[in-house]
């Protein structure tokens, strides 16, 4: 017999995908230069965070958390969403995208529209985006293997490099116990997947970046953009459009996920606002294309929105 999931149900894969997407968005926006110390610290913080999540792994019985905790978690979620949007703005500025403030308005409209949709739509879109990110990440080492320099790993860098920042960048983890209270089993799996990716893939990308950037250890722009500039798929800093779209897409969905956590299982976004958003979004997109703006970003927004529209499940009574 097929069991219908309710709107608030989260599967392990979907939650893991969203958590990884949030981390990826922050990873793309992060300004810490890549070095072996950063990779080590990233791995170390991943292990420490896994230890801190032990109660989540040990807890089996679902229960409703007390109201003050719910309010605190909602506050944290909205703060993290604002922080991620600010990171996205910084990325747009660093990538020399024209008119970042106006672009942010467009992206925020997309975010609010995504928030208004059922959670399952955001989850599904995040899975697609994560698959795209995984393929893109696989292409990186293939493209840049010949220009990697193994000796660069021994370049001079401070031992504590990026350690503190890694805690801030993984702040979404603090939401896990909240989800674990209601659905312990999928959250356990999601946490396990998140820790595995966090302790293997991201440090590996940092190590690869450290091998690519040679002795450039102080801040010379967004390190991920510097890494992209070194691999042959993007021969200049400004032609990494697909990566920028991916980064913006990750930030957009991550922010939507965090805001949905804030709104609860049934988002109460005013209908009028939604209608305004729905009308304004394409108008703004066309205006952007006509007026010297970078159309990669509206394209990113439209790609995410198209993913969100794909087979939206009906809201079911909880």
């Amino acid at each position: 017999m097929r069991v219908e999931r309710t709107n608030s149900d989260i599967s392990a894969v979907e939650l893991a995908a969203l958590l990884i997407l949030c981390r990826l968005a922050r990873f793309f926006c992060c300004g810490v230069p890549y070095s072996i110390s950063y990779a080590k610290n990233m791995f170390l913080t991943g292990v420490l965070q896994a230890l801190l999540l032990l109660p989540v792994f040990l807890w089996d019985k679902p229960f409703s958390p007390p109201r003050p905790i719910c309010i605190a978690v909602q506050g944290l979620a909205v703060w993290l969403a604002a922080d991620m949007a600010a990171d996205c703005f910084r990325l747009l500025t660093a990538a020399d995208a024209p008119n970042p403030p106006l672009t942010m308005i467009l992206l925020l409209l997309c975010v609010f529209y995504a928030v208004s949709l059922p959670r399952a739509a955001v989850f599904r879109a995040s899975l697609f985006l994560l698959c795209a990110a995984a393929i893109a990440m696989l292409l990186l080492p293939i493209g840049g293997l010949h220009s990697a320099r193994f000796l660069s790993l021994w370049s001079n860098s401070a031992q504590e490099h990026g350690f503190g920042l890694e805690w801030k960048e993984s702040a979404e983890l603090a939401l896990l116990p909240f989800f674990a209270c209601r659905q312990p089993k999928p959250v356990k799996k999601a946490a396990a997947v998140w820790i595995t990716v966090r302790c293997t893939v991201l440090p590996a990308v940092v190590l690869f970046g450290a091998m690519q950037c040679g002795r450039l250890k102080s801040f010379h722009g967004n390190p991920f953009m510097l890494l992209l500039a070194r691999v042959p798929f993007s021969d200049a800093l400004r032609t990494d459009g697909l990566w920028l779209m991916l980064a913006v897409g990750c930030a957009l969905l991550g922010t939507a996920f965090l805001l949905q956590t804030f709104c609860g299982s049934q988002p109460r976004v005013p209908k009028l606002f939604l209608q305004i958003g729905v009308i304004l979004l394409p108008v703004l997109t066309i205006l952007f294309i006509k007026h010297d703006c970078d159309d990669r970003l509206p394209a990113a927004a439209s790609a995410v929105l198209t993913l969100l529209q794909w087979r939206i499940p009906r809201r079911t009574a909880e």
């Binding site: 370049s155 002795r215 800093l237």
Partner: protein
């Protein structure tokens, strides 16, 4: 409603690929920066034959000054070559830090009397590219230069143009130290490792071809004396190739490491890898100047040939 909205979402996707960007922005192909009492810069855009020049007081004003001169928004992300004239590398560092140029953009230092615009028009960028491809000059980009200058030894090797000819020069970020000999340039290329064939002749004698070369550097310290052991794994049909390669690498180390205490081939990182302490800048330079150099050549094994 949702289908209508989905269609509207797909509509702008028909216009990705940054076509509006390309229409409205100008893409600089060559950028020449002169440093004196005032900084002046000239650019030649892609698909344009004319140069646009402007003077300004600090590097921060470079994009605005050139944009107001050209009347268009400029992008330096597709630069083919960054030409510098003057003593310091501050302009290159500033361009990189401000995200104006890609780290893999090639750099050329020009002698004070060279006309950079004329050089640019004579396809110096193509000549530099082919010199690097042929192994006459070591590869060098703005990212590598800035990184080398930030390293403990604080010196870098970079292409240098004098009398319209391309050379490699050693620079410490404040002044030009020396121009490397042709043999030392070859040594620099071989020390870096090369997977493409390198064809050269010494003193007008027979042509030597090295099909492939891998270099391995080991460092050891005993009683404060550094020993640099370079192992060159060479694949060549000619028996004299190994000796020629060893002579080139010897010349390269003598002209850079042993004479000035430069570190052009990741010696600092090798030192850390092999557990040798790296002291302060001056002490490290002295240590390198007093180092003992050992070079050996071995044929590239069948495993490496694959």
């Amino acid at each position: 409603m949702s289908r209508f909205f989905a269609l509207l979402c797909i509509f702008p996707m028909l216009f990705p690929s940054g076509c509006t960007d390309i229409r409205t922005r100008s893409y600089a192909e060559l950028l020449a920066i002169r440093q004196g009492e005032e900084i002046s810069a000239s650019i030649r855009n892609i698909d344009e034959d004319t140069w646009i020049s402007s003077d300004f007081e600090t590097m921060l004003l470079l994009p605005d000054a050139l944009e107001s001169e050209s009347g268009k928004q400029l992008s330096f992300g597709h630069l083919d070559l960054l030409m510098l004239q003057g003593e310091t590398f501050a302009p290159a560092e500033k361009l990189l830090s401000n995200g104006l140029t890609a780290p893999n953009c090639p750099v050329l230092l020009c002698a004070p009397f060279e006309n950079m615009e004329t050089l640019g028009d004579s396809d110096i960028s193509g000549k530099l590219h082919s010199a690097v491809e042929n192994g006459a000059l070591p590869p060098c980009s703005v990212g590598e230069i800035v990184g080398n200058l930030e390293s403990r030894a604080g010196m870098t090797i970079l292409p240098y143009c004098r009398d319209g000819e391309l050379h490699a020069a050693l620079h410490d970020g404040e002044r030009l130290l020396c121009v490397l000999s042709e043999e030392a340039c070859r040594g620099a290329v071989l020390s870096d490792g090369r997977s493409k064939p390198l064809v050269f002749s010494e003193n007008g004698e027979d042509t030597i071809e090295i099909q492939k070369c891998r270099a391995e550097i080991r460092l050891a310290e005993q009683d404060g004396t550094l020993t640099i052991s370079v192992t060159l794994r060479i694949r060549s049909e000619q028996s004299c190739a190994a000796e020629a390669a060893a002579r080139s690498v010897q010349a390269f180390f003598e002209e850079t490491v042993l004479k000035y205490g430069a570190d052009p081939c990741f010696l600092e990182e090798s030192a850390r890898r092999f557990g040798v302490a790296v002291p302060t800048r001056q002490a490290w330079r002295t240590m390198l100047q007093n180092a003992v150099l050992q070079i050996q050549t071995v044929p590239l094994s069948a495993a490496f040939r694959l």
